[in-house]
Symmetry: C2
C-alpha cells in the first residue's frame, strides 16, 4: 500500500521551460551588465553554518524565524574565540552538531566568504586600518525564507542576482549601484521610465530619531521594522504599533513600542513629508533644514550629495534615480545608502483590479556585516535583483514578448522506419536545428501532433511507408498552420499552404526555409 | 566577545571566477546539445519532501544515510493512501512536521514532478495502459550528499547536468542518451578518443544471477552494491564481502553476504570475462552464449542489440560507445540499460603519480521510479554529467585552456579626478568594454596594480594631475607587460613598449586596439 503523495514542499515551485527562459534571460542580461562594471562571478554554497550568516531578516527577532535550519549530521569541534579547539577538563575535544541553515540571501554568505579569506591575515594581526582588499563580485542562485504566512505569488525559495563591492567606503560604488541597477533593468528589456531607482541613507532617519531623543540602536531597529511593515499592516496599524499596540485579525495582542503621540506624529510626519515627488536637490535642501547639526544626518546628507553629483555628471537624471528619505529596507544590516527599484507598471489582477508590481530590486551599504565575523571593520555595499519577482512582472505586464521555439518533431509513423527518422533528426542537428524523433508511448498521429503543439514545435515531418517508397517527406509549418486554421476556406486549402511534400534530400533545406520565414 | 569563526560547512566550497567560468562553459555547451536533441529546460526546488525522493543512494541502507534532512518547520496534514486528509477520532485533522531533504540527485525530483503533474489524471482512473505522456527535460543545479568520509577533491554539494525522457520505453532514447553524452562532451571541448561511453543493461546481470540461483531482488541489490564498491575496497575486499565478510581498517567487522566460494568465483569470473576490450558484436556474441534461455538475460541482450544497430546506423562506432557487461552503476533504481562515461585522460597527482580521472557521467533506465510515486508504471531513461568532476578533469589535464579576461582598470590616482575616471569607465562600457574605477581602501599605486593583476585586467589606465592638465592618459598593456617583463633590457625599454600616452579623446580607441591585438 502506497502512503506517498507526489507533491512539492508548500511554498516551493517547479519552473517550466517558459519561466526558465525568462529567468535566464534576466540572469544573463543583467550578468553581462554586472561584468561590464568589473564585477566577477563567485558562488557560495546553498547552506551555511547558521552562526556565520546571522539574523538580519525583516521582522525576525530570533535566529530561527524565517530561516530553514537544522543540526549538521556531522559532529564537529567547538571553538574558542581565537578559532582554537575547545577541550573538556579530561583533555578530550568538545564536539557538537552545529546548526546549519539554508541561506536567506546572498549578502550574508558573501560576508562569510570575505571574512574567511581574510581570517588568517586578521589573526596574524596584519589587517589593520584601511588595508582590507577590494572584492567586487556578482552571484545568482536560490535563497530560502520560511515565511509562516505566504502571500499569493510569493515563494519560500526564490532567486536573487546580486552584485557587491566589499572593501570600499567610496560613495562612487554606491552611486554606481544605482547605475548598474538602471542599466541592468534596461538590458533585460524594461523601458526607461517604467521603473525608478529610489535612494535613501540610513544615517538620515537615525539622525532624525536622535534629534527626537530616540538614539537607542534597538529602538531604531524596532521603529524601522514597524515602518517596513506599513505595506502589510496599513498606516493605522503602523501608528498603533509605534504607540500603544494593537490587536491583529485573530484578536491577538501585538505590543506597541510605547512612543507618545507627539513622537509618533513626528515620525509619521517625516514619512509623509518625503513621500511626495521632489527633485534630488529639493530633497537635499529639505533634509538640510532638518539637520540641527546632528552628525548622522549631516553625514547622510553629505553622502547623498556626493551620489547626486556623480549621477548628474554621468547623465543619470531624475527620470532614473530619485532620493526617497521615507524609503525603509527590511534588512537590519544596512548602515548607509540604501536602494530600491520600484516598477511603475501596472497589471490587472484576477478580479480585474489595476495593481502595481512594486519593488523589484533592493540593496544598500552594510559596513558592519563583515566586522561581526572578521573582527576588522570592512565597508561594503551592493544590491540585488529579485529574479522571480521580475519574471512575474515581465509576464504580468507583457513587457517582454517571449517567442519560445521548440524542436522540429519527426513523427513516428511507421516503426520500421525508425532508423530513417533518426537519420533525419541527426542531419537536422548537424545543421544546428533542434529536432527530435517522437518516442512516446501514445502512438496515434493526433497524440504526436498534440505533443508537438505543446512543445511549440515550429515544423513537423511526416514520413509513412508510401512517402518512404516515393523518396519524399511531408513537412508541415506549424506556425503558419496555426495562423491559418481560423480563416482557411477548406481543409484542402489549409493543407496546400501549411504543408508541402519535398524530396528526401531536400528536407533540411526546406525546414531551414520555414524556420527563417517566420 | 566574538564566538563565531568565519567558515564554510565541511565538505562545501566556494567557486571562484575561474571555476565558475569553467562550470558555466560546461553547462552552456552541454545544454545547447541537450536542446538540439529536443530536451526542454525544467527546474525543481533544491529541497523535497523526503518520502517523495526516497532512498536510492549507493551504499545507503536507510533513508537517512547520505542525505541531509530535517523536519519542516510547518505543521501539515497527514494523508491517507488516496491523498485524503487524515482525522483523529474526534474529527480533528492530524498534523505533523514532515521530513524534508536536500535533493541528492535530479532524477528523483523529476519523478516527483512528473508524478505530481499526472496525479489527478491517475486518481480519476484515466492513466491506464500506455497513455502516459512523454516529457523530455534537461536540468542543472546543485545536489547534496552527506558522505561521512569524504575523498579528497570530492564535495558534499556538487552540480549535476541531467537530461531524461519520461514516458518512453523506446530503446531509441537509450541509444540517444549515448549520442547526447558523446556530442555534449565534444561540445564542451573534450577530444574524441579521450573518453568512452560504456553501456550495460541491468537485466543481464540479473539474468546471470538468476541462472546461478540468486533470483532474489534484495540479494541482487546487495551484490550490486558490493561490486560497486570494488574501486574503494579492492577486488579482495569485494570477494570477502560477497562471502564470509571482512574486517575494515579500524578492525570493525563488515558482515558478508555468505555466498559460497563457487558462487563468488562465478560472479568475479563474469566481471573478469567482460573487463577486457571487445567489440560490441563480440560482447553480444559472448552474452548470447551465457543466456541459457533466461528471460532477463535475453531481454537485456535484445535491448543492447537494438542500441548497437541504432548507434552503428548513425556512425557512433566503437571509438565512442562500447558495451561493458561488468559496468555497475550505484543507484538502485536502474532497471535496464545503464551508461557511464569514462575519461581516459591521466594527470599527475601531488606525489607525481600518473592517475586517471575515471567516471565523469552516468545514467540509465529507471522504469520503476515514477511508479513508486504515481501508482502507474511509466518507463523513463536519462543521464547526467557531473559538472564539478568534469571541471576538475579539464583543469587537471589542461584539456581546455581558459583565457579569462578581467575588466579594464582605471587607477584612482587623484581623488579630485574621480568624476573624470568615472566618465572614462562609462565611455568604455558604452563600447561594450568591461571596466571599473578602483574604489578600494588601499590607495597606493602598487596595491592598485596588484588588484588589476589579480583580476587579470588586460589594460590599466593612469591619469594623474599632470596628465589631466596636458589632456592625455597613460595606458598600460598588462598582458604585453607581463610577457616582456622577463627579458626587457631595461625598465625604460619595458615602459616604452608596454605603455603609451594617448590624447584623452583617443583612450577608447587605443584600449580597443590593445584588447584585439592579443
Amino acid at each position: 500500500m502506497r502512503k506517498i503523495i507526489p507533491r512539492k514542499i508548500k511554498g516551493f515551485r517547479d519552473s517550466n521551460p517558459g519561466l526558465n527562459s525568462l529567468k535566464w534571460h534576466i540572469i544573463n542580461s543583467a550578468g553581462t551588465v554586472y561584468k561590464l562594471y568589473g564585477f566577477e562571478h563567485w558562488d557560495t554554497p546553498v547552506m551555511e553554518y547558521a552562526d556565520c550568516i546571522g539574523k538580519y531578516l525583516p521582522e525576525a527577532d530570533s535566529v530561527d524565524e524565517g530561516i530553514y535550519f537544522f543540526r549538521n549530521p556531522e559532529k564537529e569541534n567547538l571553538f574558542d574565540d581565537e578559532g582554537g579547539l575547545l577541550k573538556d577538563s579530561a583533555g578530550n575535544f568538545l564536539l557538537d552538531n552545529h546548526f546549519i541553515a539554508l541561506r536567506y540571501d546572498l549578502t550574508a554568505p558573501l560576508s562569510r566568504l570575505y571574512a574567511e579569506q581574510l581570517w588568517d591575515t586578521y589573526k596574524r594581526g596584519q589587517l589593520t586600518g584601511n588595508n582590507a582588499p577590494l572584492l567586487r563580485r556578482y552571484q545568482y542562485g536560490p535563497v530560502f525564507r520560511y515565511e509562516a504566512k505566504l502571500d499569493p505569488g510569493r515563494f519560500r525559495e526564490f532567486w536573487q542576482l546580486d552584485f557587491d563591492s566589499v572593501g570600499s567606503a567610496d560613495m562612487g560604488v554606491d552611486a554606481e549601484a544605482c547605475m548598474v541597477l538602471s542599466d541592468a533593468l534596461e538590458a533585460i528589456g524594461l523601458q526607461r521610465g517604467s521603473f525608478i531607482v529610489k535612494v535613501n541613507n540610513r544615517k538620515i532617519f537615525k539622525g532624525y530619531l536622535a534629534n527626537l531623543g530616540l538614539a537607542d540602536e534597538n529602538m531604531e531597529q524596532a521603529i524601522l521594522r514597524i515602518i517596513d511593515k506599513a505595506d502589510k499592516i496599513g498606516k493605522e496599524g503602523m501608528i498603533l504599533e509605534l504607540g500603544k499596540g494593537r490587536k491583529d485579525k485573530s484578536g491577538a495582542e501585538i505590543p506597541g513600542l510605547g512612543l507618545d503621540d507627539s513622537l509618533v506624529s513626528r515620525i509619521t510626519g517625516f514619512l509623509d513629508d518625503f513621500s511626495h515627488d521632489a527633485s534630488r536637490s529639493d530633497v537635499l535642501t529639505n533634509l538640510r533644514s532638518l539637520s540641527g547639526g546632528n552628525i548622522h544626518l549631516d553625514e547622510g546628507i553629505a553622502e547623498l550629495t556626493e551620489i547626486d553629483g556623480i549621477l548628474s555628471g554621468l547623465g543619470f537624471d531624475e527620470d532614473r534615480v530619485v532620493f526617497s528619505p521615507a524609503l525603509v529596507r527590511g534588512m537590519s544590516y544596512y548602515t548607509g545608502p540604501v536602494f530600491e527599484v520600484e516598477s511603475t507598471l501596472t497589471f490587472k489582477d484576477d478580479k480585474g483590479n489595476e495593481r502595481r508590481v512594486g519593488s523589484i530590486c533592493g540593496g544598500g551599504r552594510y559596513d558592519g556585516l563583515v566586522e561581526r565575523l572578521l573582527g576588522a571593520k570592512v565597508p561594503a555595499t551592493g544590491a540585488s535583483i529579485g529574479v522571480d519577482r521580475l519574471a512575474e512582472l515581465l509576464t504580468l505586464t507583457n513587457a517582454l514578448p517571449q517567442s519560445q521555439q521548440g524542436p522540429v518533431l519527426i513523427i513516428s509513423f511507421d516503426a520500421a522506419l525508425k532508423s530513417e527518422y533518426m537519420k533525419i533528426a541527426s542531419e537536422l542537428r548537424s545543421e544546428g536545428i533542434s529536432s527530435e524523433v517522437y518516442y512516446g508511448l501514445q502512438k496515434g498521429l493526433k497524440k504526436q501532433m498534440a505533443y508537438g503543439d505543446k512543445k511549440a514545435a515550429p515544423v513537423v515531418i511526416i514520413i509513412g511507408s508510401d512517402e518512404h517508397a516515393k523518396g519524399v517527406a511531408t513537412i508541415r509549418d506549424m506556425r503558419m498552420g496555426a495562423a491559418m486554421s481560423a480563416d482557411a476556406a477548406s481543409k484542402e486549402e489549409w493543407k496546400s499552404k501549411a504543408q508541402v511534400e519535398v524530396p528526401r534530400g531536400e528536407i533540411a533545406a526546406k525546414v531551414k526555409e520555414m524556420l527563417h520565414k517566420s
